[in-house]
């Protein structure tokens, strides 16, 4: 299972590719991709977002599902999805705690 991620050009915000070619700010809203066809199509959408100057730097990451939640495989991506582990009031983790 994979999702596509990257940073938004204008403000650098970490986002993931969601439904219908949108870029979403929470991993929980990301579109989980199964199989190489889905991945290839999603990467094509992501590349278009680079060309459209919505995104800077896009790439795919491995994820798993734990208790119904999408979780990145690598620690780096877990931290990207949450915010600095040393400042829990900053980054996306602050939003998800209150959401």
């Amino acid at each position: 299972m994979k999702v596509i991620t990257g940073n938004r050009l204008l403000d650098g915000e970490v986002v993931w590719l969601g439904e219908n070619g949108s870029w979403v700010e929470l991993l929980s809203q990301a579109r989980v991709l199964e199989g190489s066809d889905e991945l290839a199509a999603a990467l094509e959408v992501a590349r278009q977002s680079l060309a459209d100057r919505v995104m800077v730097d896009v790439y795919e990451i491995d994820v798993t599902v734990e208790d119904g939640r999408v979780v990145p495989v690598r620690l780096r991506e877990i931290i990207r999805a949450a915010g600095p582990t040393v400042l829990p009031h900053l980054g996306k983790q602050a939003r998800t705690a209150t959401a």
Binding site: L9, D11, E13, D57, R76, P84, T85, V86, L87, L90
Partner: protein, 552 residues
């Protein structure tokens, strides 16, 4: 301190306008990211894990209250209310928006600051002893020379596309507090028999994946040759430095692969061609720049103050602060004060906007409006009267900057690590925090004495782990964070690269391992005067290895 003349101001204003236009062109689609990236990097703008990161230059770590207040304002207005002081005496903001950066650079230019050459393959911010111009043991203030090097190296047309980045450090005292031997060029001020100023020159020091101590290429370079000789070194590097492999592109590799003697001959040959040319440094120019750094007029005062002594006797925290955070000043009755940016359990080098404002106030009130950032990620007020220490300390306590731990085990250097950095392989800050908490008791850390722990979250070694008395390198192994420990590193006038003690530790066990090392030292030292590094150098690694891994 140095003030911009019309050329400096025009140059910075032009660059700010140029970058604003580059951002506009990027957003309008006239520049691709591939085209824009080198441009933004040359203006200090990175893309990190969570957001963009802007690295602002603090030339040779010197700034005044007005500039510090501007940094606080930027943190508050454009970022998330804090900044991070780095091991190159700069400050980083972790959350700026690309679209705001032209405005941020304009604001910086208003106070004679910028982010030029804080990244990219060029000559970076020249770093200097943080006690420069104040320390009792100083031969001369190194900052005029650092400023001359800054002017020479700023958009130097020949050296804007070097094989790799290039770092220069300079110290004015025999006791090296600027880690000059682990820089591409290290300069140590010296005086010859005739009383003239010159430099001991080291070349090819560096950390990263191939740590090396700089090699001495000159015992005494006359002052007037500073620029010509630096230019000769850079020319040789620019011509012969490797461009085929970025991991072998630093000048240290060139020194290593070419051999010192041959490279020295190349440098001298180049130097000989240009030494009598335009780069010869006129004495008047040195004096002109020196005048900017004229020390404040300080009254000679009593070296002991009754109120300070009484406070020491009644307040253990103040006594601790006085014992560790003061450096001898050349004017009696004064000291340089280290404001620790290492609160127990805190993030090394982070300062909130409110703390930055307080530092600016304190500098203006008690410190002749001078502030320094140290490569050890602390803030220094270089000129403080001893009698003002109690009042200064009270304000620091109120704002949680009063830890009396400078040079002790909790005064840890740590890079941002995987909490922020796109290159990191493991986190650094949580390890620093856990060590700080483990040893945070004031008596315990005073008992351990001088011990420099330095932590990097990847092989690039921004946290200087190679030169930590105890160094910690965070790596990734099978998806888990994993920490390698080195012992015996040092970054002073007797620099050494630490040696890996054995197999690494998990994030759960690495702090226990550090405690084992400290306990082993405490059991083996001849007296409290023998520091961890001294003891390690005397007895070697075996007892430490044995304590960590057992016999065999």
């Amino acid at each position: 301190m140095y003030r911009y003349d019309e050329f400096d101001q025009e140059f910075v204003d032009q660059r700010t306008a140029q970058f604003a236009d580059q951002v506009r062109r990027r957003l309008a689609g006239e520049l691709s990211e591939d085209e824009f990236k080198p441009l933004r990097l040359m203006n200090g703008l990175y893309l990190q894990l969570h957001a963009y990161m802007l690295r602002v230059a603090i030339p040779y770590g010197t700034l005044n209250g007005r500039q510090m207040r501007k940094l606080a304002h930027i943190a508050r207005t454009y970022d998330r209310g804090y900044g991070h002081f780095t091991t190159r005496q700069n400050i980083q903001f972790n959350w700026p928006r690309l679209e705001d950066t032209p405005r941020i650079l304009q604001e910086l230019a208003e106070v004679e600051m910028h982010a030029i050459q804080t990244s990219g393959n060029c000559i970076r911010n020249v770093t200097a002893d943080h006690f420069a111009g104040a320390a009792a043991d100083e031969i001369a203030d190194p900052r005029p020379y650092a400023e001359i090097l800054r002017q020479w190296s700023s958009i130097h047309p020949e050296f804007t596309f070097l094989p790799r980045k290039f770092k220069i450090a300079i110290t004015g005292a025999p006791h090296d507090r600027a880690a000059v031997q682990v820089h591409d060029i290290g300069l140590q001020l010296a005086r010859n028999d005739a009383g003239e100023i010159g430099f001991v020159v080291f070349v090819g020091g560096g950390l990263g994946r191939t740590p090396m101590i700089g090699r001495k290429v000159r015992d005494f370079l006359p002052e007037e040759d500073l620029l010509a000789y630096s230019e000769a070194i850079l020319r040789v590097y620019n011509r012969y430095g490797r461009r085929d492999n970025k991991y072998k592109a630093r000048i240290k590799i060139l020194v290593h692969e070419t051999g010192l003697e041959e490279l020295k001959a190349d440098i001298e040959a180049e130097f000989d061609k240009i030494r009598h040319g335009v780069l010869r440094l006129p004495e008047e120019e040195v004096h002109r720049i020196e005048a900017y750094f004229a020390p404040p007029t300080l009254e000679v005062l009593a070296v002991t103050d009754a109120a300070v002594e009484a406070r020491k006797a009644s307040d253990a925290a103040f006594a601790q602060f006085v014992a560790h955070n003061l450096n001898p000043h050349r004017v009696p009755g004064h000291v340089s004060v280290t404001i620790s940016m290492k609160p127990i359990g805190g993030i090394p080098g982070d300062a909130s906007d409110a703390q930055m404002d307080v530092i600016a106030d304190l500098a203006e009130r008690y410190g002749h409006d001078e502030i320094r950032i140290s490569h050890e990620q602390n803030v220094i007020l270089p000129h403080v009267a001893i009698r003002d220490l109690p009042a200064l300390f009270d304000v620091l306590v109120e704002h949680k900057m009063a830890e009396g731990n400078a040079g002790l085990i909790t005064d840890i250097i740590a890079c941002p690590g995987m909490d922020y950095c796109a290159l990191a392989t493991a986190r650094s800050i949580p390890v620093a925090q856990e060590i700080s908490e483990r040893f945070g008791n004031a008596e315990r850390q005073a008992e351990v004495g001088e011990l420099k722990i330095k932590i990097s979250g990847c092989i690039n070694a921004c946290g200087h782990h190679h030169v930590g008395h105890i160094g910690i390198l965070g790596l990734e192994k099978k998806g888990e964070e994993f920490y390698q420990i080195t012992l015996g590193g040092s970054a002073n006038e007797e620099s050494s690269i630490g040696k890996i003690v054995g197999r690494g530790f998990s994030s759960e066990t690495v702090v226990d391992a550090i405690e084992t090392l400290v306990d082993t030292y405490l059991g083996l030292r001849t007296s409290k005067e023998e520091t961890f590094l001294d003891a390690y150098r005397r007895i070697g690694e075996e007892p430490f290895k044995e304590a960590l891994y057992g016999i065999g």
